[in-house]
């Protein structure tokens, strides 16, 4: 069944290429293939829920499906099916439709392979194939300069990240010999004792591998410093964007969760992941707010969201990272597919009744919302949702959920004539539901990450809190100090958020333009004549 789930999308493409001359039929065959693969993943879900693991083959080429694999398969195959079904009508008649069908089918299989690999070698193969697929998806319209720009940036970032991953793989191979993903603790142990001879001295292998893995995950997840590639890839058809943002960029989170015993064998990986994730969450989030175009804003927000996911990984909140990865994937896929609705939303805004004159939300109600939802969440965590706190780092996503409940309630109280009690009840229910969801998925994923290193929360929590508090202050008001600061930052944010095509010929640089020696003949003659 696991082999089928992995191979069906690609095999259906082979079938489509053989049988279907009409592109619409080819698309339907591939959609059927991925849908069947999704059905197989549902079957696998039943299997892992009753406790057994599905596996096929042995050695480096073996596939297996544990609970994490099944969760990832359901997301990726589901999103792929959604994008393909959407594209059947959305790209109908487009000369690039066949390109989309091919790249999506193959890439889907590549991701499925990555998440189902039992052995590091196969995971690396899957990862590299996915990278190629990602570039193909980004380059659907490579004849356009803007699309080529995005493709180039993505290629450079992925080259760096994938290089890091391959190097990490080689180091693991060298230190541990074998690298079966079901026995990673053995790998971690071997790495802990291995030293790498570098130039004159030696480096401990464990931290090096952890850092390399983090770099690989960060590159795929569009993190700082190579963050700009994702926003530059908007010049691709809508369903391709949906696939990219919901099914490909989040593989970084999966990588760290899957390799957690190696990634978090010491502080190096987690510290790096939290640093990069935190920085990107704030940077990308701020860029997203300043973007005037719908898809540009969505792309920057993905970067920030992936930062949040990496941060959760670094904090050891692996289940929360996977919850975020799935929830955000679904959110972003639908946001891209419905992006044209932004115009209707503007028209609706015009019809919308004016806000009440007392448009500031009632402070008392807001305090009540904050207290009640925090209390409700705490009660849930103390009772039926206890398991959500199995990873201590999960306290961070929970705190964010509480903040979101308060923010949304504030928005509801500002904009509507909804009764305050309704908002209060909604916020409380949402807080309980979130704790429940996290508990449910933590229990389901059942990740045995307990043995790994966890960052001391007493140190990290204040840093994270301070960073986000600063960002929140900046976003909270358009006037006063925050407003002035925003105005100062704005030209920089706008510049970083805009996608510029690198000119093909002789770009002037800051230092100088072209060397006068290269002055073309015609002007020199003109100059001489004058």
């Amino acid at each position: 069944m696991i082999t089928f789930a992995v191979a069906a999308p690609a095999l259906s493409l082979v079938l489509a290429e053989l049988l279907a001359r009409r592109v619409g039929l080819a698309g339907r065959i591939c959609l059927t293939g991925v849908t069947l693969a999704f059905a197989a993943a549902v079957g696998l879900l039943a299997q892992v829920l009753i406790g057994s693991q599905a596996a096929s083959g042995a050695g480096p080429l073996a596939l297996h499906a544990d609970r994490l694999t099944v969760a990832m398969l359901l997301l990726v195959l589901g999103v792929s099916a959604l994008a393909q079904a959407y594209a059947l009508r959305n790209l109908a008649g487009s000369p690039q439709q066949r390109r989309f069908i091919r790249t999506t089918a193959l890439t889907t299989s590549a991701v499925a392979l990555t998440v189902s690999a039992e052995h590091l070698l196969l995971l690396l193969v899957g990862w590299e194939l996915t990278s190629l697929g990602l570039l193909a998806i980004v380059g659907q319209r490579r004849e356009l300069p803007l699309a080529r720009e995005g493709l180039g940036r993505a290629a450079r970032s992925l080259l760096l990240g994938d290089g890091a991953l391959l190097l990490a793989g080689a180091l693991i191979w060298r230190s541990a010999g074998d690298a079966s993903l079901v026995q990673l603790h053995r790998v971690a142990l071997a790495l802990a004792h291995a030293k790498l001879p570098i130039l004159l001295g030696t480096l401990p292998a464990g931290p090096c591998v952890a850092a390399l893995l983090t770099v690989a995950a960060a590159a795929r997840a569009a993190q700082l410093p190579g963050q700009s590639w994702l926003a530059a890839t908007v010049t691709t058809p809508t369903p391709a964007s949906a696939m990219l943002h919901a099914g490909l960029v989040n593989a970084g989170g999966f990588l760290l969760v899957r390799l957690a015993p190696v990634f978090a064998d010491g502080p190096t990986g987690p510290v790096l992941a939290v640093t990069i994730g935190l920085a990107t969450a704030i940077y990308g989030g701020t860029l997203s707010l300043s973007r005037p175009d719908v898809k540009g804003s969505l792309a920057q927000s993905t970067s920030a969201q992936m930062g949040f996911m990496l941060m959760a990984c670094g904090l050891g909140a692996y289940a929360a990272a996977i919850v975020h990865l799935i929830g955000h994937g679904l959110y972003k896929a639908s946001a891209f597919l419905g992006a044209d609705g932004a115009v209707a939303a503007q028209t609706a805004k015009r019809r919308a009744p004016a806000l009440r004159s007392d448009s500031a939300p009632p402070r008392g109600t807001l305090v009540a919302v904050a207290v009640l939802s925090a209390g409700a969440m705490a009660a849930a965590l103390a009772s039926f949702a206890q398991v959500a706190l199995a990873d201590r780092g999960a306290i961070v996503p929970l705190a964010f959920a509480w903040a979101a409940a308060v923010t949304v309630s504030s928005g509801l109280l500002t904009g509507s004539r909804l009764p305050r009690s309704t908002v209060l009840i909604l916020a409380t229910a949402a807080s309980i539901a979130y704790a429940g969801l996290l508990a449910l998925l933590t229990a389901y994923l059942h990740l045995a990450a307990g043995a790994t290193y966890t960052l001391p929360l007493t140190l990290t929590l204040p840093i994270i809190a301070l960073a986000f508090l600063a960002a929140w202050t900046l976003t909270a008001g358009a006037t006063g100090l925050a407003g002035r600061l925003r105005a100062r930052l704005y030209p920089y944010l706008l510049d970083r958020g805009s996608v510029r095509v690198r000119p093909a010929t002789g770009l002037h640089t800051r230092a100088g333009l072209l060397r006068p020696a290269e002055q073309p003949a015609r002007l020199s003659e003109q100059g001489a004549a004058a």
């Binding site: 804003s297 920030a304 639908s334 609706a348 019809r351 009744p353 979101a404 986000f468 000119p503 002789g506």
Partner: protein, 830 residues
């Protein structure tokens, strides 16, 4: 020394004043040539070359070629393919050749030669990318890319300024206008630091006009080139330039000031600083560049018309001949069918009799109304009689929404509103208000969460499960349209349109369309809308006469006025007797699904038959349209499908405008390609009505036609390109992908399927049934009509009565009898 300075200063001051005046004049002239792009929420079709329409169609295309890189027509290969498909015949080509080169008549040998050249020589005139502006010309010489770099900075700021409706963080200071806000931040702009010498930003003057002048001086643009230079600068980003031209013309609709001067000042600041730095580093004197690069604008326009039998056919002229043949192939057939209209033609529907029909309906002139009118009239002989007029029904109004500070303009773009109508929160309005309040609560909460530093993470996580599920359902199970659309809030006339004006409007309208007797008991006034989903170009499918919005509200107002007993009494006094029993009913035709909903009525039994007829006719039309739409998805499903880029074909294939009594059309299937305006010239003693029709709806027809034409032939320049790449910018328009210029026109998917055009790019044929002398008088009196006819923007055919043959108005004046190409044997000279 001081003496010499004193002596020089008056002269210098005078020279400076002269330069300032020159720049101001050049700015106005350059602005007037630009297209006007309405925001996408109120998208109205425009002729993108309207600013240069006085040069005639071919001259305007030549202008566009030089400045925008337009082709301006289908490729010769496309024309040849239409010949192979029988869409153009040999006779059409021959007739076109003779029309464009009258001196050829009789020279049979030469004609044959030319014809074979037309058919065989399919190499288009090569299109060069225009080199626009000082920086670009310098780049051209040096191999640098300063101009493109300047473009990107300008696009960056334009997007920030115009797209603010979408951004959580607006451009600081934008309420002071683009230039002022930008200037306040320019020193911190990394883009300017990349391009300009350090500290140069301090040189930029504070006023837009002064900045333009300063920059032109820095660029050493001579007086003779100023207008040309400004035009070129604007044409580097035609999309935003067109949007800023709209801002300049409609400051009352903008939330921040700023017009073309601001845009140019911003652009020229970058250009001047970058170029002067480049010139300094290279040691180039810019004056030489201007001396070397002078070109006569429009010098290459036009075509050569040689002596008898000696015609040089350059690729451009070949294309115009092909276009002429392509257009007249269609027009000949249309005129031939209209010639026998009004008389029974075989098995078609019977002619209208003197009997009073069971129901009448007034529709918009929109091409899509033709299908529904035809379907209704062919239900049963004489049961339905239909009319056409502009879909705002002559009532340019502003609609105030329930408790909203904003309003919607329901009127054609060039008009000013004459009345204000408002939604009331009584009756059905209460429910509508509650729904809008809830929708707004959700939207506000969503916006607040997205704009916060803390909330987006958990919000995405939590709502993802819901929106993801919804996305799957919307993709797999495309919802069937459920039941009746919700009732609308009652309307109230708030200002304007006093009773006397209402009576005058009613009389004028009814007499113009020829509805003065035989009133049916039920008369529908049907506006139209297009209820599509997830479509940025919805406004382009809505009623253009209502400003890119649904036409139902105008119809409701029209029906209310015509049902008002005081108006009826007023009409009676003026000799227009509308029977007591006659009831006007507002309706709205959804062109995506071909359903018609009746507005402001209950479930009366007397309307059951009307509803049944509308349902039957709508279903027939939907079936007919389904045959033209690609893939098998039926129209009523497409409208609800969020993945659908082509919910309907809209006004694609529009080709003609018929101004004549409704009876002329009976028995004819015009294939949803014609705009139809009912007109009874005998009721229009002084020609006012005809003047209005030709200059107002006529203008709209020409604009729509031009929008479709140029979106088809130049999809990357005057069209919006591939819809699946679109990225909505604020509430103003779309970008293609991650950036670039604002897109003009319509998406490729609106005019084509795959690589093949569905729309047939042609200039419209106006067909008028009215005395020729009256038409001549109107053309003489109107600059617009003269430019249209003499410039070849439209073709005009007319006759006074159905029994007479069609006469064609010649561009140079005068009329000639219509003589279809097919009847002329190629060897028979006239």
């Amino acid at each position: 020394m001081s003496a010499s300075l004193d002596a020089a200063s008056p002269g210098t001051a005078a020279a400076a004043d002269a330069r300032t005046a020159l720049v101001a004049t050049a700015l106005a002239a350059a602005t007037a040539k630009l297209p006007v792009a309405w925001p996408i929420t109120d998208l109205i079709a425009v002729n993108p070359l309207a600013g240069v329409q006085e040069h005639g169609f071919e001259g305007a295309v030549a202008w566009g070629r030089e400045l925008l890189g337009l082709r301006g027509h289908m490729t010769l290969a496309q024309f040849r393919a239409s010949y192979d498909a029988g869409r153009v015949t040999r006779a059409d080509l021959l007739a076109a050749l003779r029309r464009r080169h009258p001196t050829l008549a009789g020279a049979g040998q030469a004609e044959e030669e030319l014809l074979s050249r037309l058919l065989e020589d399919l190499d288009d005139e090569p299109l060069a990318r225009p080199v626009l502006g000082v920086a670009a010309r310098l780049d051209h010489e040096l191999g640098t890319s300063v101009a493109a770099a300047v473009d990107q900075e300008v696009l960056k700021w334009c997007a920030a300024f115009c797209g603010s409706a979408q951004a959580a963080w607006q451009m600081p200071g934008r309420e002071r206008g683009l230039f002022d806000a930008w200037r306040a931040m320019a020193a911190r702009d990394p883009g300017l630091r990349r391009l300009a010498a350090p500290g140069a930003v301090r040189l930029i003057p504070a006023e837009p006009l002064a900045t333009i002048e300063w920059a032109l001086d820095l660029l050493a643009v001579p007086d003779t080139r100023v207008e040309r230079e400004l035009t070129e600068q604007l044409c580097r980003t035609p999309g935003f330039a067109a949007h800023f031209r709209w801002r300049e013309e409609h400051p009352e609709l903008c939330d921040a000031p700023g017009g073309i001067a601001e845009l140019l000042a911003l652009r020229l600041s970058y250009e001047a600083l970058a170029v002067s730095r480049l010139a300094r580093e290279w040691g180039i004197a810019l004056e030489e560049l201007h001396a070397g690069g002078e070109q006569d604008p429009g010098g290459r326009a036009g075509h050569s018309r040689g002596g008898a039998g000696r015609v040089a056919l350059n690729p451009q002229e070949r294309a115009w001949i092909w276009l002429d043949a392509y257009e007249w192939h269609y027009r000949d057939r249309l005129l031939a069918r209209l010639a026998c209209g009004g008389r029974p033609a075989g098995a078609g529907r019977p002619p209208q009799t003197d009997r009073t029909p069971a129901a009448q309906a007034i529709f918009c002139i929109d091409t899509r109304s033709e299908g529904l009118r035809r379907a209704l009239e062919s239900l049963s002989p004489g049961r339905w009689q239909t009319f056409g007029m502009a879909g705002f029904f002559g009532l340019p109004v502003v609609l105030e929404h329930l408790h909203s500070a904003q309003a919607t303009r329901l009127l054609p773009g060039p008009l000013e509103p004459t009345a204000v109508i408002a939604e009331r929160d009584s009756g059905a309005g209460a429910g509508v208000l509650a729904r809008r309040n809830h929708a707004q609560a959700l939207a506000t909460a969503h916006r607040a969460a997205k704009a916060s530093a803390l909330a987006p993470y958990s919000m995405a996580e939590a709502t993802g499960w819901l929106t993801g599920t919804a996305a799957v359902l919307r993709t797999l199970v495309v919802g069937a349209r459920g039941g009746q659309p919700p009732a609308r809030p009652p309307l109230e006339l708030q200002a304007g349109l006093a009773l006397a004006e209402q009576i005058a409007w009613a009389r004028f309208t009814l007499r113009t369309i020829g509805l003065t007797d035989h009133f049916a008991p039920v008369i529908l006034i049907a506006g139209h809308t297009s209820l599509v989903t997830n479509n940025a170009y919805r406004a382009a499918l809505e009623c253009g006469a209502c400003g890119g919005h649904a036409g139902g509200e105008n119809a409701r107002l029209a029906a209310a006025i015509l049902n008002d007993p005081r108006v009826r009494a007023g009409l009676r006094e003026q000799g227009l007797e509308v029977p007591e029993a006659t009831r006007f009913i507002a309706a709205e035709h959804d062109t995506a699904t071909d359903t018609v909903s009746l507005l402001d009525v209950g479930d009366e039994d007397e309307l059951a038959a009307v509803r049944a007829d509308l349902e039957e006719a709508g279903a027939a039309l939907a079936k007919e349209r389904a045959r033209l739409l690609p893939d098998s998805s039926p129209p009523r499903r497409r409208a609800r499908d969020w993945a659908q880029v082509r919910p309907e074909w809209g006004l694609a294939r529009n080709a003609a405008f018929i101004v004549a009594p409704s009876a002329v059309l009976s028995g004819l299937d015009l294939g949803c390609r014609t705009f139809l305006h009912s007109y009874e010239w005998s009721n229009d003693h002084d020609g006012t009505a005809l003047e209005t029709i030709l200059t107002a709806p006529g203008l709209v027809v020409q604009w729509i036609s031009a929008q479709y034409y140029f979106s088809s032939v130049d999809p990357e320049i005057l069209g919006a390109g591939d819809k699946t790449l679109h990225n909505v910018l604020g509430d103003v328009g779309v970008l293609q992908g991650a950036g670039g210029d604002l897109r003009l026109g319509l998406p490729w998917q609106s005019v084509a399927y795959g690589e093949g055009l569905f729309h047939e790019p042609m200039r419209p044929l106006f067909v008028v049934q009215a005395p020729l002398a009256r038409i001549d008088r109107l053309i003489d009196a109107s600059d617009l009509l003269r430019q249209y006819v003499a410039g070849g923007w439209i073709a005009l055919a007319a006759r006074e009565a159905p029994a007479q043959p069609w006469q064609l108005r010649q561009p140079s004046g005068g009329w000639q009898p219509w003589c279809p190409a097919e009847t002329e044997a190629p060897d028979r000279s006239r």
